[in-house]
Amino acid sequence: MPTPILSKESLIPGKTSKLVLEAPQIAGKARPGHFVILRMNEKGERIPLTIADTDPEKGTITIVYLVMGKSTAVLESLNAGDAILDVCGPLGRATHIEKRGTVVCVGGGTGIAAMHHIAKGHSRIGNRVVGIIGARSKDLLLFEKELKSFVDELLISTDDGSYGHKGLVTELLKDRLEKDREVFEVVAVGPVPMMSAVAETTRPFGVKTTVSLNPVMVDGIGMCGACRVTVGGETRFACVDGPEFDGHQVDFAELRRRLGAFREQETQSLELWRCSCHGNK
């Protein structure tokens, strides 16, 4: 049965939207850290997206995406009232959450939405949550309002200084770790270079650092190993062993190369779709 889109809210015009999907079975089982695999239509490919929020009572899940290639472009072309052909989940291991004190949750770009769900879990169990979010400029920041509704503190940075601290999230993070020795864990979700930089920032402090990895996936249920990553020198499947791992153990350089494995085909697919779309209109 196709999964209906109940509402769509554009966060960055043409690039990023927030969709609320009617998926009661997934909503009832999903925990922070889980993801879903989606296929938009009969000819579509399977892509993974983190669950940004759930409402088990209403039977809904929320997803947020960045338009990167054809599949996300097709997703962006859908509206409330449309449906997604296949939504499979919840997948992956849920975030390990226990009450321990202060946790710093760092989010970059679309990763802020995924981070938001994890931060919410920590907040609900009674941890003190410090959010740090960053983007290139003010208009690319997501989920500020949602985060403010429950975090104890929210620090913001933009590359161009159009809002909050001018610079990188890692500068805010370093500053915080120097001043605040109570932090028991740092969670980071965002682009690979950002997660890698967060791990390097926390390493000298010896603070546990959890990152949510985003490798290429096909089935998302452990069948193929497309999503394999090297953690602590060992091969792990992000879809069943993760997607969260110890940031100090992850081989980020390998992850970045593997993410580019299909770049040529991805470009071809997107260009072809854009052409045919314009042709039809």
Binding site: I26, K43, M223, A226, T235, Q265, L272
Partner: protein, 472 residues
Amino acid sequence: METNKPKKAAVPRTPMPCQPPEERRHNFKEVALGYTREMAMTEAGRCMQCKKPLCVSGCPVEVPIRDFIREIQTGNLDAAYRIIKTTNSLPAVCGRVCPQERQCESKCILGKKGEAVAIGRLERFVADSYIASTACEQVTGTNACAMPAGGRKVACIGSGPSSLTCAGVCATAGIKVDVFEALHEPGGVLIYGIPAFRLPKGVVATEVNGLRQTGVDFHLNHVGGRTVDVAELAREYDAVFIGVGAGLPIFLGVPGENLVGVLSANEYLTRVNLGRAYDFPNYDTPAAPGKRVTVFGAGNVAMDAARTALRMGADEVHVVYRRTRAEMPARVEEVEHAEEEGVQFDILSAPLHFNGDENMRLKSVTLQKMQLGEPDASGRRRPLPIPGSEYEMATDLAIVALGTRSNPILLQATPELKLNKRGYIEINEETGETSMPGVFAGGDIVTGSATVILAMGAGRRAGQTMVKRILG
């Protein structure tokens, strides 16, 4: 009597018409084209109708082989189909993918002095010839589907061969069946694993639709252990069958295995078969391109991957295997087909490490020559490395087909299930029941990766117990 030389043995086995190798290596159409009615009659005529048919004992689901062949001899194909269906829910599949030379046909009396009756080809012919509007009529013997009586219902997790068979057994007994499948298409390995040139997707769809007509409902995108919980299903249903297979691929564990260009056969085949990557960019899923392809392993999956790579446009495809041709576990016909199509076999050779360029893309593999030593515990001669025999082979796509192990998703979510030492589900061999009362299991999640027909045998056994338990 052994001494009476049977006259019929002299008649040679009827050859199977095939697409010519030069043509088929560029397409995904089925290679083996199937018997015509005349060919099937001729081949069926070779069967001696043994009083004690040994062939049946070689079939994991004990198809009444002699009886269905007798119906072909008299031209009664509907009757032949009904007989097969009494024990086999997927004859069109089994006739195509079973390693008959190690099963039914290995026991055929004609094989002692000549060639065995082509049982698999005949089973396939009967199934393919069967075209009827209502599958339930053929399956149940009545013109009405045996629809759920008294609200009894069972759940099957997974929709591969074991689950489909279990579902078929329960549905024909009048029990409502819900099948929960994690992927977006039902069929398990029949859909994502075995390529269309060996098993056309339409054949699987026909068998699945046949089940739908007997009242089986398929719930796709439902992951056992994630979307649905075994204990919850056990409370809601009269019985549960777990047939989730052993999907987790095994890698070689040699350096360089995470280079771009090294894939599991499961990934490669899933992209091409389930994702229809052969029709990219019309379909969105891309396959990993490769001009010089190396496949590791020599089972059916390795043959499928190698032959798929040829069809995807590779110039050269090598199958690297550390033993010899005689030890290859693949179906004989597939090895022959692969060779005819131009796949090269590098036997007595094992990989040491993969080598990449500065962008971490695969460019070659370093191999080592092997020799066969003394037989090991499995009875096969152990391959031993020959020191100083290392050599490098250029390759831009490496496909690892070493088999699979148990998938942890459902097992981790269901700690009540007792596992054996190898990490597979432990069952009562007689009944198929697990350590959870009312929860049954079968197929690769119990035995580790095996064949389609063995999984079907397990599904049938469990299904029969479930039916007996529920209907008394």
